[in-house]
Symmetry: C2
Subunit: 390 residues, 2 copies
Amino acid sequence: MWADIEPIGRHRGTGGYRRFAWTGEDATLREWFSGEAADRGLDVIEDRAGNQWAWWGDPDADGPGVVLGSHLDSVPDGGAFDGPLGVVSAFAALDELRAKGFTPARPVAIANFGDEEGARFGVACAGSRIITGAMTADRARALTDASGISMAEAFSRAGRDPARVGADPEAVGRIGTFVELHVEQGRGLVDIGRAVAVGSSIWPHGRWRFDLPGEANHAGTTRLEDRADPMLAFAAVVLGARAAAVRHGVVATCGKVNVEPNGVNAIPSHVTGWLDARGADTEQVRAVVAEVADLVGEHGGTVAEESWTGSTAFAPALADRLAALLDDAPVLATGAGHDAGILAAAGVPTAMLFVRNPTGISHSPAEHAEEADCEAGVAALAQVLEELAR
Amino acid sequence: MWADIEPIGRHRGTGGYRRFAWTGEDATLREWFSGEAADRGLDVIEDRAGNQWAWWGDPDADGPGVVLGSHLDSVPDGGAFDGPLGVVSAFAALDELRAKGFTPARPVAIANFGDEEGARFGVACAGSRIITGAMTADRARALTDASGISMAEAFSRAGRDPARVGADPEAVGRIGTFVELHVEQGRGLVDIGRAVAVGSSIWPHGRWRFDLPGEANHAGTTRLEDRADPMLAFAAVVLGARAAAVRHGVVATCGKVNVEPNGVNAIPSHVTGWLDARGADTEQVRAVVAEVADLVGEHGGTVAEESWTGSTAFAPALADRLAALLDDAPVLATGAGHDAGILAAAGVPTAMLFVRNPTGISHSPAEHAEEADCEAGVAALAQVLEELAR
């Protein structure tokens, strides 16, 4: 399975993945998912956000069921594991249980959530946010990518009906328990020498866009004192965000910027930057965002919240049960958002498993997990599925 | 004439022009130029850099001649006047002289220099640099645009032979005197209440690219102390360049940046920034560049000089003669580079005329010149042509 998806959306130059929602690469990954499901006799349905569900058994007659899964899309130049490891491991865990003749007592599904990274339309976990109602259909449809294409238009181009987009309580209601396996995005497991952990919670996290207006002008003939140069304001905000994050003990990142017109000899007319901020403590994260907003305001700019997810604890009893099942696996919190967090916030009993990442690097072509650790992840996921579906 | 080219390459959203070398818009503008020349019975030839020359008379038999002209390309979201005003005014000045029955004593040409802004391949005045040998053919051919297309490939796609690109002493030798009319890119004429000025010199100016390496990683899960975030380095360089420019009394601008991968939740793996620096004094400009290079080096980055043009004085006796001719027109230096500067540096007798810009704004959709001032520019250019070609 891994070899089949390995080349899809991989950039020749960087070696990183560019798998964005509702693109050709995304369609190829969806076909791969449907094919794997068909090979196993699973029934694939797509919900109102375009998330794929491959069911073994009938959740409407005998559900709710146990759902394993993750996502197949990537950040720009992302790694091979973030997302796909959870989907591939789910199929492999199912195969392992079937090979030993296991028959589940309730329906089982593997899910592929769409647009988890939000790399194209700016909102992470768009697929799970839409079906749980955490993002309204109108807001989702109106989101635009860097070329000005709306999500509604992207749905249409991909042969889906944008009018159908919206909360899908039926799809959510079919999930009795959701378990997402994911490559770890830090060094927690490396430090303690374990291959697999159980997730406890997701830090509160969000994204903010800040718009800094300027006045386009010639870089050679405009006196410094006559300039309104928003690149200077952007630089001040980048450094200010970092300083505020250090003060408040959280993480803050400006990883994306758009400059208009982005010409060497033109003072920019407009700079748009993005802030990603997260931390264990909601108040501290909010304090950083407030300081950044003040700084943006001092430069005549505006800040818009693109997404916000409060601290999300996974079902604590379930986490304890799975940790005990997996040889007293460590229980870790994470700074990364996941569809599992959106579902947990919507009241779905949810758990996560993390697989060791030797460097902790993620969202990069250097992201990695050793084969033995991936196999340990599959074995753990199979144990969890057997426990929950028997 | 103005109405014919007004819509070409104009962006609907910004109202600015996007007329880049060897694109479809550029081809349309070249066709327009050839058409205007044909309507007047002028012979159009293209030199080894693809610059267009519309000759009245035979410069090889009776030359060298008097050449008027400028360029038709633009910066990203540039204004309507920077470049086209000089070409349109040249045709209009010719028409004005012909209407009064003037016959030149030597050949006269109107020139359209290609790729003056360097918006696509990063080197300003590429057309005049190539034919004068200020840029070698090998370097020109190897320049690439943002999509990785080389100038050689762009020439091929536009139906030109890249092997032919190179210094063209024959084309340069046909120019007895070159006069470029241009919209002013500052407020010099506004301040003194005049419509037209004569140019004295061009400030030394250059462009530098700086590359800042980092380590791609997840914005939510990587501790601040574990990060190598090149966006922070970029911000420090932007602010440092401005501070150095203030200290040294020159102008410095970071108007362009490319971020890899440019994702909201990804610490960048690499940031490339550009510095444009100019000033009346070469030593001061060089001092700013040296300080910026030190700062880039402190952040583990490297600096590459993309272009450098020393201070260029136009022929002083010619400037005085034209100023006297034009009712004691003011004589002004400029911070903007022009093909006229490249030709002057190559030893061609060269002059410039500037037309008043009510706001001083240039390289922006807000760039403007009043119709009466444009007409005064045409009248001045006709006077100059009559003086030089009789």
